[in-house]
Amino acid sequence: MSLRIVVCVKYVPDATGDRHFAEDLTTDRESVDGLLSELDEYAVEQALQIGDDADDAEVTVLTVGPDDAKDALRKALSMGADKAVHVEDDDLHGTDALGTSAVLAKAIEKTGYDLVMCGMASTDGTMGVLPALLAERLGVPQVTLLSEVSVTDGKVNGRRDGDTATEQLEASLPAVVSVTDQSGEARYPSFKGIMAAKKKPVESLDLDDLDIEADEVGLEGAWTKVEDATPRPARTAGTVVNDEGEGGKQLAEYLAGQKFI
């Protein structure tokens, strides 16, 4: 039987751009170009490798986001995923992590899955809680923050490098896995991959398709409220001295002047 892998990806504003909040204090998606969150590329990569190692596998990429989020799906398809699911609905604007996890969980169940793959965090919200939220909602094991992952005989194995220890984890499928940026470099789409991606199916779903009421999501339905966003005063460049043999001494004097030593 085919191994059904669903990779959750996010379309985010480019982290190297000058990101802002919109007037309603949601992420401004207008002023900075969007792309597939870099950290999700690692999840796509590991999903493709697990798929390659299985006798028969199907890799579906799933996103919740505005129309432009199709770009993120297209990128994942051009890397080699088989098909895509795009949950898109105007009522989703402003949905928070809890709401997004509820939408994703419904879409994952509708798609059918043995393995859900996620990146370690998004590069915009950076919460890193979505895989745990999905595991809780789906009622399946969470095998998260893996720097190595493999799937054999219906089991996931992986290495989690925690703050205080390295752990070897094991769980039975179905399961939710997240991988870190240490899990292995993501492949670049080949020209052939990019051409093939144009013909791959992208299924579009809205809230009705998932039996979700509009007031359960969106800004109004959010479980948290951002009340204020203030730009931090930009750090200004201080003194820069050119080392002409006295650099170490000058730095020691600076540190002493600031009472660090």
Binding site: A15, Q142, G238
Partner: protein
């Protein structure tokens, strides 16, 4: 006064500093009730009481170590049911955030992660967060249910405020999902004897300019002469020169020390995201155009292999 649950981060009863910060912040909202999972509750309770815990709910079971995350969620939920708190505060470690997230789903509450400050508000606690690589500070609150908030290290100066802190046993029934992910082996990270990266007052970091694992001893020596923690940029970690657990930046640790010394680090946005809320930033780099100089309070353009040893020698002078 309402009670506030604080999940304790500890190693066999030795309470880690971020927990003391959480207790300090919790007192702004209500009476802190500490939740201690695993061994060493009696030992930990002394410290927890000193920092304001009115009581310590303790549970110990092999499940906490043998299975990932979920047994601790079951226990924290049991504490929630026992106390009906005004808020739940959890340390912002990767495990802490996962525990908090799952609890939020179960109790039907919103969650805020990575708070850097917390105040009482008319409609519940207001959390400050850094957003978009610390370009913005936001203030948010949980609008549904009991606020579940994870708090970053160094968010407050721990203040002692002695309270009773009596230990009470917490009765926990583990759900059938709690044994889903088995921890088949655990290798504790070897202690370096240096301060924790996220807790240190001074951090010395090395990047691409260190040019090899064999040269990182220079960064370590400089750190040791300042009593500092050692950090590394993603470039240095990806090259295999230093462990990922020491990575500072978007996909590593966020640090906010009094003094951050960036050595041979160009200062890409992903790195700055992890360190630019440091109080004072010093940069040593060969490249005058390196973006790290744009955020540095004091920069030296030059060769780190000359400047760092010279600085170490200066620091060694009586």
């Amino acid at each position: 006064m309402a009670e506030v649950l604080v999940l304790v981060d500890h190693v066999d009863g030795a309470v880690r500093k971020p927990t003391l910060e959480l207790l300090t912040l919790a007192r702004r909202i209500g009476d802190p009730v500490a939740v201690h999972l695993g061994a060493g509750a009696d030992e930990a309770a002394k410290t927890l009481a000193e920092y304001g815990a009115v009581k310590v709910l303790a549970a110990d079971a092999p499940e906490f170590a043998d299975y990932l995350v979920v047994p601790k969620v079951d226990a924290l939920q049991a504490a929630y049911d026992a106390v009906s708190p005004a808020a739940v505060l959890v340390p912002s470690s990767s495990e802490g955030k996962e525990i908090a997230a799952r609890l939020a789903v179960r109790i039907g509450s919103g969650i805020i992660t990575d708070a850097v400050d917390l105040e009482a508000g008319d409609e519940g606690p207001v959390a400050s967060q850094s957003a978009f690589a610390a370009a913005f500070t936001t203030k948010s609150r949980v609008s549904k249910g009991t606020p579940v908030i994870t708090v970053k290290p160094n968010s407050a100066a721990p203040e002692a405020a002695p309270a009773a802190g009596a230990v009470e046993q917490l009765s926990v029934t583990f759900g059938e999902k709690s044994t889903g992910t088995k921890v088949v082996a655990r290798t504790p990270r070897e202690s370096t004897g240096r301060p924790e990266l996220t807790e240190a007052a001074i951090v010395v970091s090395g990047g691409r300019g260190v040019n090899g694992a064999e040269n990182f001893h220079i960064i370590e020596s400089l750190a040791d002469s300042l009593g500092a923690a050692v950090g590394a940029s993603r470039a240095a970690v990806d090259a295999g020169w230093y462990p990922h657990s020491n990575q500072v930046g978007q996909t590593g640790k966020t640090v906010s020390p009094q003094l951050y010394i960036a050595t041979g680090i160009s200062g890409a946005i992903q790195h700055r995201a992890g360190m630019q809320t440091s109080k004072t930033i010093v940069a040593i780099n060969k490249d005058a155009e390196a973006p790290i100089f744009e955020v540095a309070d004091y920069g030296i353009e030059g060769d780190l292999f000359e400047i760092a040893p010279a600085l170490i020698a200066e620091l060694a002078k009586p």
